[in-house]
């Protein structure tokens, strides 16, 4: 089975608001999927449902054929789903090294393996020199790298990135894209939520478009550009 993730008609309500409404999404092994939609359309909520931060009111989430709907977030990380939060989210009073190593240590019980994985992640994201630094002394780009390193250190098969380009300069976005491409070539699948469409559309193979919690499009980036419905919700953006 080459579908690594299947969201089977999942719904999430917040009181009267339906943030995600009967959305079905499938991700293949090693795929690069874009997830777009206007503000408040339910992208982050969907990411939260996949990573286990939220539990759906209806529907199921399957990972590698296994029903993970009731699984806690940390257990999903161990299975191979990593995520990055929207905005910069790091432990403010822990040095870069521990920001990354703790996740590795939780997933791999073997301390040596966790350590060598951490060093690999620090190297991949060019953070070795900042290992002992506190997050407060890092630039937004370096902070993104810390988050990326933490997502990678647990050996993920699927990485969820929630607006990874936000707050970065064009050159820095280019760097992030380079790293994502390289990791993708090694077989890691990505779901990337982004508003910066001109970068995203060149990067991903497929896009899912959400609007008011519903999936309104699922196809190639070029089809999305030409879709009338997508243009309507994105009026003035694309």
């Amino acid at each position: 089975m080459d579908k690594i993730l299947i969201c089977d008609s999942i719904t999430k309500r917040f009181g009267g608001l339906i943030a995600v409404s009967r959305v079905s999404v499938e991700v293949s092994r090693g795929e690069l999927l874009g997830l777009i939609g206007p503000n408040g359309s339910g992208k982050t909520t969907l990411i939260n449902l996949i990573s286990g931060v939220l539990e759906p009111d209806e529907g199921r989430v399957l990972f590698e054929g296994r029903d993970i709907t009731k699984l806690k977030p940390h257990a999903r990380v161990a299975l191979g789903i990593s995520r990055i939060f929207q905005g910069m989210r790091v432990y403010p009073y822990l040095p870069v090294y521990y920001n990354i190593e703790l996740s590795a240590r939780s997933v791999f019980k073997d301390a040596r393996l966790a350590r060598s994985k951490t060093i690999w992640a620090l190297t991949t994201t060019k953070l070795l020199a900042e290992s002992a630094e506190l997050p407060v002394n890092l630039t937004p780009y370096k902070l993104k790298m810390v988050e990326l390193a933490r997502a990678l250190v647990t050996n993920p098969k699927l990485v969820l990135l929630d607006e990874p380009f936000a707050g970065l300069s064009p050159e820095e976005v280019g760097e992030v894209i380079k790293i994502v491409r390289k990791l993708n070539e090694s077989g890691i699948a990505f779901i990337i939520v982004e508003h910066k469409l001109r970068y995203l559309m060149k990067l991903v193979e497929r896009v899912v478009v959400l609007n008011e919690g519903r999936k309104i499009f699922d196809g190639s980036p070029s089809e999305a550009m030409n879709s009338e419905e997508v243009s309507r919700v994105y009026l003035g953006v694309m």
């Binding site: 977030p73 940390h74 990380v77 403010p92 009073y93 090294y97 997933v107 040596r112 020199a129 002992a132």
Partner: protein, 348 residues
């Protein structure tokens, strides 16, 4: 930045390692010779009590100081442990020498059974529960009909720890034998507990507890089994408090409901933790000795006003404690971090 990477890659020498623990060794050795060089009477008893309080301070700092889950249930844990020891002696005739560990374990089990739901939700509900429980127990102990079985206002009396050995000595040496043996036992337990807590607080497990304190959702969502970490941390912390309760009860009969009063068993250690710097272990341990010894000195000067002064100090500390304090302490400990990180990087 340059300075830091230098720190990261500066290999710690054996000499610097020894130099690091030298102050600790010096202070401990001087402390342990005090009874031998003439410390007697009131002050040796004070230090014994401060040794025992160090266990409570460490218990609070290890769990609450790192996870920022304020465990107000400490008086419950300390009190249940103390009363278990006293009741085992009264009803089953168990000598206190043998019931310290069983009492501590019993109280740990009670505490974690009652407070386990508080590990799932952060909020006022369980803080209130944990504050009210010891007050209810104190009420039970002193009200009919329970007071008949639990000692009432006068408490439960029994022979203190090592009394059977003291009895064999000439009358003039008995008191000092008891004081000195209690001092050395409490000091030994305190030192061992300090070393273990320090190791835990700066281990990967300790850093996981810190990550929970700093961003629990992030920790859970990036692979840390937050419930398990909190559970283990809470059990370790409760055991330390429970051990303090059992040791205290064994050395200081009669045991009374006073032990359940937060002003007695929660406020002093909490002050030490906040004053010393939450989660650092070193700071609260030092603050434990300073504040409690000053507290005793104040007794002569201020009488019962000292408790009011203490509470006011706590309020001031809580109000003044800025985010910056943790950062300041981090800078102080940067060396420790860097050396450890270097070891990790060099190890592969």
């Amino acid at each position: 930045m340059v300075e830091v990477s230098k720190l990261v890659f500066a290999k710690p020498s054996k000499v610097s390692k020894v130099r690091k623990i030298l102050p600790f060794l010096t202070v401990v050795s001087i402390y342990l010779t005090l009874p031998a060089i003439g410390l007697r009477g009131f002050w040796i008893d004070v230090l014994t009590r401060v040794n025992i309080f160090l266990l409570i301070t460490l218990s609070l700092d290890l769990y609450s100081g790192t996870t920022f889950y304020l465990n107000l249930g400490v008086p419950f844990t300390v009190g249940v442990s103390a009363y278990t020891l006293a009741l085992l002696n009264r009803y089953l005739g168990v000598p206190v020498e043998y019931s310290i560990l069983p009492s501590a374990i019993t109280s740990t089990i009670f505490s974690f059974t009652i407070f386990i739901p508080s590990l799932r939700v952060r909020g006022a509900y369980f803080s209130i529960l944990s504050l009210l429980l010891p007050i209810i127990l104190a009420g039970l102990v002193t009200s009919q009909p329970f007071s008949l079985y639990l000692g009432g206002e006068g408490g439960i009396s029994y022979f203190p720890l090592f009394f059977s050995y003291a009895r064999a000595l000439p009358a003039g040496e008995r008191v000092f034998f008891l004081q000195a043996s209690h001092f050395y036992l409490s000091a030994a337990v305190a030192i061992v507990a300090y070393i273990i807590c320090y190791k835990i607080a700066y281990s990967d497990f300790g850093f996981m507890m810190r990550s929970i304190g700093q961003d629990e959702l992030l920790a859970e969502a990036t692979g840390i089994n937050t419930f398990r970490v909190k559970l283990i941390g809470f059990i370790a912390s409760s055991f330390l408090s429970a051990l303090a309760g059992a040791l205290y009860a064994a050395m200081r009969p009669p045991i009374t409901a006073d032990i359940f009063v937060p002003a007695n068993t929660l406020v002093p250690p909490l002050t030490a933790v906040i004053l010393g710097g939450m989660g650092t272990i070193v700071g609260p341990a030092i603050a434990n000795y300073l504040t409690l010894i000053i507290y005793e000195i104040l007794w002569g000067v201020l009488g019962s006003w000292r408790i009011i002064l203490y509470m006011c100090l706590l309020i001031v500390l809580v109000l003044l404690r800025p985010q910056g304090l943790i950062y300041y302490l981090y800078l102080k400990m940067k060396q420790v971090f860097s050396v450890r990180i270097f070891k990790h990087l060099g190890g592969v």
